[in-house]
């Protein structure tokens, strides 16, 4: 049970907070919604929270009946709430989806134990089948093996590249038609800003798409695109949700950290600015003549790649041939290489081991 509500019916406090919910007009408001600034009660919060996500799914036709959908499950708050809400909505509105949880085990001793525990609990609680794919399955190497082969210094390159592909490869392995991820409005606003800060116009043009990779084998979509992080954090709080969500380590040094903090400062000053950033991202006039990196597929694995071999295959090549440094470093080989590096910088902030 969500923390303090465990000790039963508490008397409503007799303080300034006892305003009524603007939606039902009956119960005491418990939350100020960042999106609308409305004060609503717990019960109404659950209704509007879930309804809005349903609406997003319907308006954007994110799913078709009969699809097999992989829910990217990291054990973090976003994916945990996502798994719950999607399975609930699937039941309630008869989406007809074949849902399963998909987790990636990098094979780092100790690192994923907790989060995999959370995911396993989700499996039982929501009755969703859980599939765990390991780096060993996907690449033939665990992260620990890679570290052994190349030392601690360079493994971030591997992490970034492998991690980026792992979900797609896992989903392909499990014959999914679609992947859903828990990226929320704050995440997307942050990505818009980061792409502006690093001049990545190609990513800027597609980072606000609710579904990406439609031309690829497995599209990814983000049902939480318009959902505020604040509400996702609060969502499990008042329910019978598992509480011990695993925190990542926040790195205050990277400029990703600055951007996140900037967004939170903005949210305090003007909550709608998060949605405004997303709106800006959707409306940018990106000239059609802007050269977009061509997206082909990797000759070896079929993954999207602008080069002959995708970055992961290049790295694997090196590992398998005992030349692990192959493919590391800024070979100004082309847009592909650049893209991977920037992605790496981006993800580096919240990845730590």
């Amino acid at each position: 049970m969500g923390s303090s509500s465990a000790d039963g019916a508490r008397l409503p406090p007799s303080r300034a907070g006892s305003r009524l919910c603007v939606r039902c007009g009956e119960r005491k408001a418990a939350l100020k919604r960042p999106k609308t600034l409305e004060q609503i009660c717990r019960e109404c919060f659950y209704i509007v929270f879930e309804d809005e996500i349903h609406q997003t799914i319907v308006d954007n036709t994110l799913f078709k009946a009969g699809e097999r959908v992989a829910i990217g499950a990291s054990g973090g708050k976003d994916s945990t709430v996502l798994a719950y809400v999607i399975s609930e909505l699937n039941r309630r509105h008869n989406y007809g989806l074949d849902l399963f949880l998909l987790s990636v085990d990098e094979g780092i001793t100790g690192y994923r134990d907790d989060s995999l525990e959370t995911v396993k609990r989700n499996e039982i609680q929501y009755g969703l089948p859980l599939k765990i794919v390991s780096y060993k399955d996907l690449y033939g190497w665990t992260m620990d093996d890679i570290v052994k082969a190349i030392g601690l210094k360079n493994n971030c390159t591997f992490c970034g590249v492998f991690r980026r592909q792992a979900l797609d490869r896992g989903a392909a392995l499990l014959k999914a038609d679609k992947i859903v991820t828990g990226h929320n409005a704050d995440d997307i606003a942050e990505t818009v800003l980061l792409n502006i800060l690093r001049g990545d116009i190609a990513r800027l043009s597609r980072c606000t798409f609710i579904t990406t990779g439609e031309d690829g084998p497995i599209p990814r979509c983000k049902p939480f695109k318009y959902t505020y992080e604040k509400e996702i954090v609060i969502y499990p709080f008042w329910t019978t949700f598992p509480q011990n969500v695993i925190p990542g380590i926040y790195s205050p040094n990277a400029y990703r950290g600055f951007a996140r903090e900037f967004i939170k400062d903005l949210e305090r000053m003007r909550p709608r600015s998060i949605l405004d950033i997303i709106k800006s991202g959707e409306n940018f006039r990106i000239s059609t003549t802007t050269r977009m990196p061509e997206q082909g597929t990797c000759e070896r694995c079929g993954y999207i790649s602008s080069q002959k071999l995708c970055k992961a295959c290049v790295l694997l090549d090196g590992l398998n041939r005992g030349l692990p440094k192959l493919g590391i470093g800024r070979t100004k080989a082309g847009p592909g290489a650049e893209r991977n590096t920037s992605r790496l910088q981006g993800k580096h902030g919240n990845f730590d081991f």
Binding site: L193, I196, G199, D200, F258, D265, S273, I277, S287, T290
Partner: protein, 462 residues
């Protein structure tokens, strides 16, 4: 007009990140830190990386230092390139420079003066055979009323500005000092009260800030129109544009953003040009320091709300990576500009040497010259959804206030219009007539169109 607003109609100075609120404060507190990457070199023994001559005075990030002359020439080169490659100034132009007293507009004054002097010189030495020299004037918008600044301070400041300008010869430069409240037509009896009332009706702090910037642009337009200027030059610099890129994004103005970050902006009656587009605020302040260019810091006006949050974010990014502002600018440059972001009038480029003319003449003739609907207040071109909303309102044909409201972009709607819709009438009645009249004329003509359509249909039926 977020454009002009980005860095302020009155020049980049007080509003761009370099000298705005928090950033400026930080700089003064820690001059050593500010100079960390771009600094006055002290005791370095090497020579200037450019001319190998003088001792390096400026330590630029990453590269070899530059001597003062080379540093100035480097910045002047960027300025001149922006002016010439965008055909910003023609020999027949009278240029009105918006001076805020801050470093950016101060440098712009110095540079445009240098260009003018050279033109005057060649005109004189050629016995009036060369192209005539363009004229330059200086405008200062006095915002004491909204800033609640004591009158004597403003007086001192304007005297300073006048003395700075008068020290620059050859080329007489008139100084125009206009109080912000002059944007209200001369008929209104108490302009100060009207300005205060309309600003007071805006609840949002950021909205108030932006509204005043819009008024400042209007004020510059008015000075230019009344005194026969043909161009308005702003000191908006790369750092200010970088801030604007982020703040516009944050305000949901992603669509209209590219209109504000180009070298040229002809959507106003008098076109606006930004020759310092590629110079960083830091570089400009440094040049002021090196050349002891007198500034007028009394006039510094901190920005507020989201604008100030963005300014401190950008200054933090700059500390982490000095080229970040350029990267932001580069991103914005990849967005598609609007048709009004270049000079396209017939014969505009005739004065150019014939070898340069083709560069400007491949103007896409298919592109509609100027059909954008602009926000009544800020001048942002309307996005599709804003146009849709405007169309819907027009078709319902009702009160004028609804039409005015529909002529405001979504951002102004949120942050500038009062929160109580029943006060819209009062709010619009207080706005400068210049803004509302445009809607009146537009709606009158569209009404005429509708009537004509109606009559035509009638004819058809007969």
């Amino acid at each position: 007009m977020a454009a002009a607003s980005a860095c302020g109609g009155a020049g980049c100075g007080p509003h761009c990140s370099s000298s705005s609120g928090s950033a400026a404060g930080a700089e003064e507190d820690a001059p050593a830190e500010r100079m960390a990457r771009l600094s006055i070199a002290t005791g370095a023994a090497t020579t200037c990386g450019k001319c190998d001559g003088g001792a390096p005075t400026v330590a630029a990030s990453g590269g070899a230092g530059m001597c003062r002359e080379c540093f100035r020439a480097h910045l002047f080169g960027k300025f001149k390139l922006a002016v010439t490659s965008n055909a910003m100034v023609r020999p027949t132009d009278a240029v009105l420079l918006a001076l805020s007293g801050g470093p950016a507009s101060r440098v712009a004054l110095q540079f445009i003066h240098a260009m003018q002097s050279k033109a005057i010189q060649s005109w004189e030495t050629s016995n009036s055979q060369a192209l005539p020299a363009f004229g330059v004037g200086v405008a200062f918008v006095d915002e004491s009323v909204v800033l609640a600044r004591p009158e004597h301070e403003t007086q001192t400041a304007t005297e300073d500005i006048k003395s700075i300008v008068s020290s620059l010869s050859p080329g007489d430069k008139q100084v125009h000092v206009a109080p912000l409240e002059d944007v209200f037509s001369s008929g209104s009896e108490d302009k100060v009260a009207r300005l205060k009332e309309v600003v007071g009706m805006i609840d949002d702090e950021t909205g108030r800030d932006d509204f005043i910037r819009c008024l400042r642009m209007l004020s510059l337009q008015k000075i230019a129109l009344e005194n026969g200027y043909t161009k308005i030059m702003l000191g908006t610099c790369a750092s200010g544009i970088a801030c604007h890129v982020l703040s516009a994004t944050v305000k949901g103005q992603g669509y209209s953003l590219p209109a504000d970050v180009q070298y040229v902006d002809t959507r106003w009656e008098v076109p606006v040009v930004l020759p310092l587009h590629d110079c960083l605020a830091q570089e400009l302040s440094l040049l002021c320091e090196l050349d002891s260019l007198k500034m007028q810091q009394l006039l510094d006006r901190p920005c507020r709300g989201i604008n100030s949050l963005v300014a401190s974010f950008v200054s933090r990014l700059r500390e982490e990576n000095p080229s970040r502002e350029h990267t932001i600018l580069r991103t914005a440059q990849k967005l598609k500009p609007f048709s009004f972001n270049k000079f396209s009038a017939n014969g505009y480029h005739d004065f150019l040497p014939s070898r340069l003319r083709p560069k400007f003449q491949n103007v896409d003739t298919n592109e509609s010259t100027f059909s954008e609907i602009l926000c009544l207040i800020c001048g942002s071109p309307f996005s599709e959804s804003e146009l849709q909303n405007l169309e819907n309102t027009k078709h319902k044909a009702q009160k004028k206030i609804d039409l005015y409201t529909a002529h405001c972009c979504q951002s102004c709607h949120f942050q500038i219009l009062p929160s109580a819709t029943d006060t819209y009438g009062q709010f619009f009645s207080l706005l400068p007539k210049f803004w509302t009249e445009k809607v009146d004329t537009a709606s009158a003509s569209s009404l005429r169109d509708q009537i004509e359509d109606y009559l035509l249909e009638d004819d058809d039926e007969n």
